[in-house]
């Protein structure tokens, strides 16, 4: 590894950079640490776009959206005194890492609740639309919705969705494809459902908000399947995603039974600022100060226990800014927000690569405030999220190699991910075949009384959740010829995941080349922040 030296070169704002003879080494996430590695000449590095400018007055933009909705009457016109309203809110899985206060959900809730009060609406429940995710802790909810809303509504009128509450769920019917549509009873029985969404990646939002956020296991198992994932090309491209199509059908049935007013937002990708802002830059454009900051951070991280590193990373909020907010009917609102998301995330890329390099960070949507990014989540970040961050065709060729960097420690959070532990240690040694796992074991885990109790009253993900994480990676597993993990601190985890190990990135590239040929095209996805590729 070489130190990053600033170069006398004009500021590059292009998103696709080719490594040449005097290129600086590149920084990539390695769990709660970083690697700084030289890449072979000719490697293509794809950077996220610069953050789009945040809306100058988010509160005014939210009010404007509520008063000028898409294909709907303004929110105030939908309100009548004494009506029953449920506000559903996206959970802590978005955005990543959690954003600085005030969270955009707090801004929206403040305005919406004031509007409801002005119109004599006081039968209001706020439900965190967790679907089968873990229940959020009170302090997490407070941080998300703000002190004022939390103190006024929790716990009786502000609570987590419970997909396993026999009395709290209701079946609305089936789609034409036979998908069961099961939703939260309070929402179904309300005169109006207002959904407050954050769109971080294009698979979020739209009908997924109500159709998944408030659903039960029976609904989810219709589309959270290996088959749906394999037929989603990719699941970040809703038009070509079987997963999105199924959710769309379910959402339409929900719309037949519920009056839904959807508020969707898009954030820019300003994930790091202050001392960490160099992570948003091309390493060739580092200043002397950036280099010193990085070296200081690396020096500190190397002398800090992993648990403390995690805590520090988790406690650094992101400086996201609101770049769009739209409200009204679910579908037209989602169209507009998706367009804004792609404007922020999508990078045009010419041609696929043979070897894809991707650093895996400490965080995923499913381990916010958890004690570890466990092996299944490392897998889902690699083969689920980063592999699927494309439109048109995968960034890596069929049969290609994906190289990821992460310690892959055999660590789980027993409070948040108890069923993951059993899945990983009991099921994966038997088979990695997602179709077999689904057929043979998914229901057993879903109805495991202990896991149900831990989901409903503890803070555990639902018993079936590790299966979905495994399915998320199915398209990647079927597409790739090889996955190589750099820097794994053990051999068990990569072996159970079906991955190969390399001590260094250079060794991994060499292994990749021996598989794909000496002239293999190498591409590195330089994230986070989030980026997507439009591959032509």
């Amino acid at each position: 590894m070489r130190a990053i030296r600033p170069r006398a070169r004009g500021a590059a704002d292009e998103s696709v950079v080719m490594i040449d003879n005097d290129s600086a080494p590149r920084i990539m996430f390695y769990g709660e640490d970083f690697l700084c590695e030289d890449l072979p000449v000719g490697t293509r590095v794809i950077y996220p776009r610069k953050p789009l400018a945040g809306l100058p007055n988010p509160r005014a933009a939210i009010r404007y959206a509520l008063h000028h909705p898409e294909d709907s009457e303004p929110l105030h016109a939908l309100l009548t005194p004494g009506m029953k309203v449920t506000i559903a809110v996206d959970d802590i899985s978005l955005p990543l890492p959690p954003m600085k206060r005030p969270d955009v959900r707090e801004l929206i809730l403040d305005i919406v609740l004031q509007m409801l009060a002005d119109h004599g609406v006081d039968d209001i429940h706020i439900i965190i639309a967790t679907s089968l995710h873990r229940r959020m802790h009170d302090w997490e909810i407070r941080r998300m919705v703000g002190d004022k809303v939390f103190d006024a509504f929790a716990p009786e009128r502000l609570y987590n969705h419970d997909a396993c509450d026999p009395d709290g769920m209701v079946t609305l019917g089936e789609t034409a494809h036979g998908e069961v549509v099961e939703t939260n009873r309070r929402a179904a029985e309300s005169d109006l459902v207002i959904y407050v969404n954050i769109n971080l990646v294009p698979m979020d939002g739209g009908h997924k908000s109500v159709g998944v956020g408030l659903c039960g296991y029976q609904s989810l198992k219709a589309h959270h399947t290996p088959k749906a994932i394999v037929h989603s090309d990719s699941f970040m491209d809703p038009k070509r995603s079987e997963l999105a199509h199924s959710v769309h059908r379910i959402g339409r049935v929900c719309d037949e039974h519920m009056k839904v007013f959807h508020i969707e937002t898009a954030l820019n990708n300003r994930m790091f600022e202050g001392p960490m802002s160099f992570l948003m830059k091309n390493e060739d454009d580092f200043t002397e100060m950036d280099r010193l900051k990085f070296e200081a951070i690396q020096w500190t991280l190397k002398r800090t226990p992993r648990a403390l590193r995690r805590e520090v990373f988790m406690r650094v909020p992101a400086a996201y800014e609101l770049i769009a907010v739209h409200a009204g009917k679910t579908e037209p609102v989602h169209e507009k927000i998706l367009a804004k998301c792609y404007e922020q995330y999508a990078i045009p890329v010419e041609g696929q690569c043979d070897i894809l390099i991707s650093g895996i960070p400490y965080i995923s949507p499913y381990n916010v405030n958890s004690k570890a990014l466990n092996p299944l989540l490392v897998q889902v970040m690699a083969l689920g999220y980063f592999f699927h961050m494309y439109r048109h065709k995968p960034l890596v060729k069929k049969g290609g190699v994906m190289i990821v960097t992460h310690p892959c420690s055999d660590q789980f959070d027993p409070v948040h991910h108890p069923s993951y532990i059993e899945f990983f240690n009991r099921l994966l040694p038997e088979t990695r075949d997602a179709y077999t796992l689904e057929k043979k074991y998914q229901d057993e885990f879903a109805y495991n009384p202990s896991y149900v109790e831990m989901y409903r009253r503890g803070n555990a993900y639902h018993g079936a959740h590790p299966f979905y994480m495994w399915y998320w990676g199915q398209a990647g597993r079927e597409h790739l010829g090889k996955v190589i993990v750099v820097g794994s601190d053990n051999s068990t985890v990569p072996k159970l995941l079906g991955w190969e190990r390399a001590e260094t990135l250079a060794e991994a590239i060499s292994m990749g080349r021996s598989h794909m040929g000496r002239s293999a095209q190498i591409t590195m996805l330089h994230h986070p922040p989030i980026l997507m590729t439009d591959v032509r």
Binding site: P166, Y447, N448, P449, S450, M454, G458
Partner: protein, 231 residues
């Protein structure tokens, strides 16, 4: 809500085995005995029996730490001379006054969830059968296995019928039960709060620590067993 047709064990070959004291309810066998002691036919009898029970508590605690078998021998000796019909008749009252109010709030939900999963419900308790019966009926479990008192001429001898339902014997009893009912222990669940029930937990495929004591919590963490709190 329609939650039919999701039983994972439609063949009835999996079961959920529950310890009772400290797991499903917050009282224990000493509370039950103390209640009987307080409810003697005469006021003086109640006072004497209650006083003896209170004075014996430190001894019970020490005995329990040393050996569950020793504890049982000492403790159940205090039932000697109690008429069988009286114990049985008062058991219903004991349930209403003492046991029912001490059922943990989430016990009923856990059992309902296990029933929905198609599991055969079995209580395996170190309590006495006549005190466990009303609880088993109330919770709607399929079977219960509990200790029995020996009686002679309608009066308790102070001896327990064998085998004692405790410690490693619980695991053996569960094996016998499973063999008799065609239950696959590898697909079954067990729930307990106490390290003394480690054998009962270790014998099933899905052990779960419930409101665990320190030692059981440590074991559960080591083996990655789920830990739940029904309190």
């Amino acid at each position: 809500m329609n939650r039919a047709a999701h039983a994972q064990s439609p063949d009835g070959r999996a079961a959920a085995f529950y310890d009772v004291d400290g797991t499903l309810i917050k009282t224990n066998i000493v509370h039950a005995f103390a209640w009987y002691a307080r409810n003697q036919p005469t006021l003086s009898g109640s006072l004497i029996k209650s006083a003896k029970t209170a004075l014996s508590i430190p001894m019970f605690l020490v005995a329990d730490k040393l050996s569950r078998k020793l504890f049982n021998q000492l403790f159940y000796g205090y039932y000697a001379g109690e008429p069988e019909d009286r114990l049985i008749v008062l058991a219903e009252e004991l349930f209403e006054d003492v046991i029912k109010p001490s059922i943990f709030p989430r016990t009923v939900d856990l059992i309902a969830e296990a029933r929905r999963a198609g599991l055969r419900q079995v209580i395996v308790s170190g309590g006495l059968d006549f005190t466990v019966r009303p609880l088993a009926r109330y919770l709607g479990v399929d079977d219960f296995i509990a200790n029995t008192l020996e009686f002679e001429n309608g009066y308790a001898t102070g001896q327990l019928g064998k085998p004692f339902v405790a410690g490693a014997t619980k695991a053996q009893i569960m094996r016998d039960y499973s063999e008799h009912h065609g239950i696959d222990l590898g697909r079954s669940w067990a729930y307990s709060d106490s390290y003394s029930d480690y054998p009962m937990l270790a014998v099933v495929g899905h052990p779960t620590a419930v409101n665990p004591d320190f030692r059981l919590r440590t074991v559960a963490r080591s083996y990655d067993w789920p830990i739940i709190d029904l309190r």
